[in-house]
Symmetry: C2
Subunit: 242 residues, 2 copies
């Protein structure tokens, strides 16, 4: 068993939209940054995994925001792992502003993959590191929900370019989040941003591929499916506006 | 007169490309972040200027890199202002890795603008703050060079979306840098990244506009011009590969 650990971060002026509030994409970036640092400190960061030709891949994420913090807000991100199976490790987050108000909660589920085969590796290989890192505390929100039956009313194309890709020439998680939010009308972002997003990363997309971003609006629910040219679902997401 | 000030930053895993080196865009992001923090500490940050309905706008930048630092490298960015005129304030940067090796140098030139009129404000309004902040030290490289006569051999279109825009609904500086580098073949990034980039921000682009990114390759020189639908040059840039 281990303690959860807090990390500080400040919302800088490159991370806000026209409302002067942090974009969802920048909040996800902060969460993923903390996940990376925390994994490294516990001895199972990507650079250690890479030595065995393994890496972490984000499989699913759910995030609930009560508000998006304003520019220059100092925030704290707490993170803890509370469970793992043979395939998925569950890492949780609580986001607090400088006044101590919790404004965000997230649950992420990660696979460890073999970098050559691109297939999941049994997580019990990390049993010692994981057991030392487990915290006996429930996830702060429901785990990522299944998303099925997206029927796009609108589609947009996106060619995968250099600035979209990560060290592995696959599309970076944050760019998928951007592709999703870029489909919504600007007025969507006028409010304080109370919402829940679920996102599933199903299939990795590569440099040069032409993607189709499908968007369906069902009352307060925005649904998305990103497909490859071959019609394979690469990412599905839903955003529930509260 | 004032001392120059150093800021630490680490290249994190979201900031590297497939070579595991920091992207030019992420290095520019770090520089602009330091510019913002330093201006704020000296009493002329955007939030103080905003009270008078003014803001800083980056007009030109030159950056020379001897190499791009690897993932997880701890870096230091020194910054100092060494001159200002009625229209432009010149802020300089030196980037050093953990071993003390200078790997980057940059010169940026900033206008202060009236946010309603979108026109430059006379910088002598900040004479006291500026004089206290001036450092008697030359710029580390040539100031941004003029770029004229770009004759694109290739063009690509880019619709300005939500994730491209800043607090003012204008395209974010970093997205222009991305648009430029996204035109280049991936093999361009294989090397250690020795280069000089000059970039001029001529005309602000807004949400919804359709931009054309023109690219011309002249031996070791990559030239770019981003135009609006009306054919107005918004950004010109050159990258000299060394």
């Amino acid at each position: 068993m281990a303690d959860k650990i807090s990390y500080d971060y400040m919302v800088d002026s490159q991370e806000v939209d026209f409302t002067l509030r942090a974009t969802v994409s920048s909040i996800v970036n902060a969460i993923l940054g903390v996940a990376g640092v925390d994994a490294r400190q516990r001895g199972f960061g990507v650079e250690v995994l890479n030595e065995q030709n393994y890496s972490w891949v984000l499989s699913r994420m759910a995030i609930e925001l009560e508000s998006r913090p304003l520019q220059f807000t100092m925030c704290q991100i707490e993170t803890w792992i509370n469970t793992y199976s043979r395939v998925l490790s569950t890492r949780n987050f609580m986001l607090t502003d400088a006044k101590g108000k919790v404004f965000g909660r997230a649950v992420t589920q990660w696979c460890m993959i073999d970098l050559t085969a691109r297939t999941p590796v049994d997580l019990t290989k990390l049993v010692d590191e994981h057991n030392q890192s487990l915290v006996d505390r429930p996830s702060p929100i429901d785990k990522p929900r299944k998303i099925v039956g997206v029927h796009p009313q609108q589609t947009a194309e996106h060619r995968v370019v250099y600035s979209d890709i990560d060290y592995n020439q696959h599309v970076n998680t944050l760019r998928y989040v951007d592709m999703i939010f870029d489909r919504l009308p600007l007025s969507t972002f006028d409010g304080d941003g109370t919402m829940r997003m679920d996102i599933h990363f199903i299939h990795e997309c590569r440099y040069g591929q032409l993607l189709t971003v499908g968007y369906e609006q069902r009352e307060r629910l925005s649904l998305f499916e990103i497909q490859t040219e071959e019609g394979v679902a690469a990412v599905r997401a839903s955003v529930e506006w509260r």
